[in-house]
């Protein structure tokens, strides 16, 4: 029997000496250039962290390459960020420039700090999940090829956080991101009654439906879907493989904006619907990348310094957002789920 329940490796064995020494005693930081953080300890010690972009879906080969670099410049220590970037931890200032040169030579993108577009939190999609309405890795790659210039610089009004989820389960940060891309279905599940009867627990399937669109079909020991009430979330399919919902022709992508996670200045915010649907056009999803680029550019042109996307929109109003972006406002933008009345405008205050 193997060892079990010993927990994660002890972080104390994984941190470089400069961190062990200055742990909890850092004094301040600066960002001397995009992708480079300079942390200064109360002791006067200095740590440079050099951040590079990662595809997140990576090979052991690449990890080993990273290790080689870390051995050379960082005493054999490396870390990843909560957004899947890689950080090289440089305690010897003399190693900083050589490292940067080396990374450049390898074509790595150094950036993601400060007022940049950092890496995209994303999910499995067609790589590994059973419920996707789109792919995630491909969307990220296509988008970031367009936007990498904002990763390697810090010229946004504030940080911009992108996220991609391949279905409305939103594994990741989509519900609170500056810009989120979410795969959606648009047609109702196709019920294989035999399959349901054989393998699915009917009450759980019924309970899984957010809008109560599923009723039992006792005759077939199966279920029926009320077309009027189904909004294609796919949650029933998660519970029951015999309710397939993926539809290559009608699945696609929706775009959400203005969310944030931090409590800095304003409370965390939900991302809200900007574009209800764009087609799945792999491998490069040109409609999606164009739309995201456009959103980023309208934001950059209009927001004030230090203003996150959602903070900008709150200042100018959603009515101005739709005007400035040229995105049509439709009935789909108006909430019709449980808390909808709290999103309706209860004042005559608005811009015409």
């Amino acid at each position: 029997m193997a060892k079990t329940d010993f927990g994660p490796p002890d972080y104390r064995t994984m941190i470089p000496p400069v961190i062990a020494k200055n742990y909890g005693k850092w004094s301040y930081h600066e960002i001397p250039q995009p992708g480079v953080l300079k942390h200064v300890g109360e002791s006067g010690d200095i740590l440079y962290s050099v951040r590079i972009a990662s595809a997140r879906l990576i090979s052991t080969d690449w990890i080993k390459e990273l290790c080689d670099i870390a051995d050379k410049y960082c005493g054999g220590y490396i870390r990843f960020t909560t957004r899947h970037n890689v950080e090289f931890l440089v305690s010897d200032e003399n190693q900083l420039q050589p490292l940067l040169d080396d990374l450049k030579a390898r074509g790595y993108l150094v950036g993601g700090t400060g007022n940049a577009i950092s890496n995209v939190v994303h999910t499995q999609g067609w790589i590994h999940c059973h419920t996707p309405a789109t792919d995630a890795s491909g969307l990220v790659k296509a988008m970031m090829d367009e936007l990498h210039g904002y990763f390697t610089t810090m010229k946004m009004p504030a940080r911009v956080r992108l996220a991609v989820a391949c279905c409305v389960n939103m594994c990741g940060a989509c519900h609170c991101s500056d810009i989120a891309i979410v795969g959606i279905h648009r047609t109702i599940p196709r019920i294989n009654h035999e399959g349901v009867a054989k393998a699915c627990e009917v009450p759980s399937v019924i309970a899984a439906c957010p809008t109560g669109a599923i009723r039992p079909n006792p005759k077939l020991k199966s279920v029926e879907v009320n077309k009027e009430k189904c909004m294609f979330c796919g949650n029933c399919y998660t519970m029951c493989p015999s309710m397939e919902i993926a539809d290559p022709v009608n699945d696609g992508v929706s775009i959400w904006v203005g969310g944030k996670v931090s409590n800095a200045r304003t409370a965390p915010k939900f991302s809200r619907l900007a574009i209800p649907f764009l087609p799945n056009n792999p491998p490069r999803w040109p409609e999606v990348t164009d739309a995201v680029k456009h959103l980023v550019e309208v934001y950059a042109a209009n927001a004030r310094a230090g203003e996150r996307m959602g903070e900008w929109i709150d200042r100018v109003g959603w009515e101005r957002f739709f005007k400035l972006t040229g995105i049509p406002f439709t009935e789909k933008h108006i909430d019709d789920f449980t808390f909808s009345p709290t999103t309706f405008r209860s004042t005559s205050q608005f811009r015409l």
């Binding site: 029997m1 193997a2 060892k3 079990t4 927990g7 994660p8 490796p9 972080y11 994984m14 941190i15 961190i19 909890g24 004094s27 962290s49 972009a53 595809a55 879906l57 990576i58 052991t60 080969d61 990890i63 054999g76 220590y77 870390r79 990843f80 960020t81 909560t82 994303h122 067609w126 590994h128 999940c129 059973h130 792919d135 790659k141 296509a142 090829d145 990498h148 409305v168 939103m170 594994c171 940060a173 519900h175 609170c176 309970a207 979330c233 493989p241 993926a246 290559p248 022709v249 931090s262 409590n263 800095a264 200045r265 965390p268 939900f270 491998p283 004030r304 230090g306 449980t338 808390f339």
Partner: protein, 397 residues
């Protein structure tokens, strides 16, 4: 080029951003399953649909979680991904690694798996992407030998995760890495043998910047803060202003409660401590001049989650302030009370936020032994539908 079997995916090797296709190809050069993954993915790109089936229950001995079973729907065409399960390996808290540790991991994964990983999954795990049912146990055995345990999946505690905190951040009010490590260890059984109605996530950020996205993405969010007042070094403030920093636009004007005012005559940043809601912005903007308070702890927010079923929630304040110091007895006790309540009262696939919504916050607080506090709400109720208990009214008639 024209005879590539993956013309669509090849397109995704172009461009400046690091390519996951290149990564798959690297693995495919060594591993047949990665080659089949690549080819099946190409087919998905052509057909615009995923080709994975629902996972069956697979795992390693003694554990109920940590593995996501996955089977190809096109196993006839791509036999090497017929089974293609992922292992969720518990990352190092804070995502720090020695190259030695990583190399050891790669070695094992090259031996038993696809040679592909996610560094990291969005919960935080080190995701080993794709192996067979047969290889799960030996792979885990070897991982365990090297000190790698599994993370969470299913209806139990998910791998806790947190920000870099005290390891490299002057803002950290609590030791997020250490807390995450200890909470993972303390509640391991709930991670490894999931027995709750649904998933439960714990995340921790050292301050209100919430670099771990804890409030939005975890059922139980621990957010470092302080209960005394922040510290201003007026000389350092002056330095910023002298350097051309627009203190009015970036600091004073953005304070959510207007607790700051810059007196340009006196060159002094005036601070109304009572109204500071510890949002971090002034500290973020002037890290050399303003520091967090010294009496530190955390706010606990409950119920954060994605949209399924009842809507996405951003965590709700549950404990406005508590100390979070090793050995963490008080907060572990709180987590125990909450997860026990969750285990007992939640329906299948009901997150704690949804449970609280269903039973009512008041009942939940009673259930877990907490006192109502105005910090819990952005505003009190507006509807007059107030419950009264038998003991609050007079029996008569």
């Amino acid at each position: 080029m024209t005879d590539s079997k993956t013309p669509r995916l090849d397109e995704l090797e172009k461009g400046a951003w690091p390519s996951f296709v290149t990564e798959i190809k690297k693995a495919a050069a060594k591993k047949a399953n990665s080659q089949d993954l690549l080819d099946q993915l190409e087919l998905s790109y052509k057909d615009k649909i995923g080709y994975w089936k629902h996972g069956g229950i697979v795992g390693v001995k003694g554990y109920g979680g940590g593995v996501i079973g996955r089977y190809s729907a096109k196993a006839d065409q791509f036999p090497n991904v017929k089974e293609f399960h992922t292992l969720r390996v518990n990352m190092v808290p804070g995502f720090f690694y020695t190259t030695e540790a990583l190399r050891g991991l790669c070695e094992t994964w090259d031996k038993f798996g696809s040679g592909l990983t996610n560094m990291h999954g969005s919960t935080g795990d080190l995701v080993l992407l794709g192996t067979t049912t047969e290889n799960l146990q030996p792979c885990f055995d070897e991982l365990a030998e090297k000190g790698w345990d599994l993370g969470g999946s299913g209806g139990g505690l998910r791998t806790p995760s947190g920000c870099v905190g005290m390891a490299r951040c002057e803002f950290a009010c609590i030791d997020s890495m250490d807390f995450i490590q200890e909470v993972t260890r303390h509640f391991q059984d709930a991670i490894h043998r999931p027995a709750w109605p649904y998933k439960f996530k714990i995340k921790c950020s050292g301050c209100a910047n919430d670099c771990a996205a804890a409030t939005a993405r975890s059922d139980f969010a621990v957010i470092g803060t302080w209960c005394d007042t922040l510290k201003i070094d007026q000389n350092a403030v002056r330095e910023y202003v002298k350097g051309g920093f627009n203190i009015d636009a970036l600091v004073v004007g953005k304070c959510p409660t207007k607790a700051l005012e810059y007196d340009s005559a006196k060159q002094e940043l005036k601070f109304d401590a009572e109204n500071c809601v510890r949002c971090m912005n002034c500290i973020d903007m002037m890290p050399k001049a303003i520091k967090t308070g010294k009496d530190r702890g955390a706010a606990i927010l409950i119920g954060g989650k994605a949209p399924v079923v009842k809507s996405a929630f951003i965590g709700w304040v549950l404990v406005p302030f508590m100390k979070v110091d090793a050995p963490y007895a008080e907060i572990f006790d709180l987590i125990t009370r909450i997860t026990e309540y969750f285990d007992e009262h939640a329906k299948s696939r009901e997150r704690i936020g949804e449970l609280i919504y269903r039973v009512g916050m008041g009942n939940f607080l009673k259930g877990v032994g907490l006192t109502p506090q105005p910090q819990m709400v952005s505003a009190p109720r507006a509807n007059p539908y107030i419950f009264w208990q038998d003991e609050e009214v007079v029996k008569h008639g």
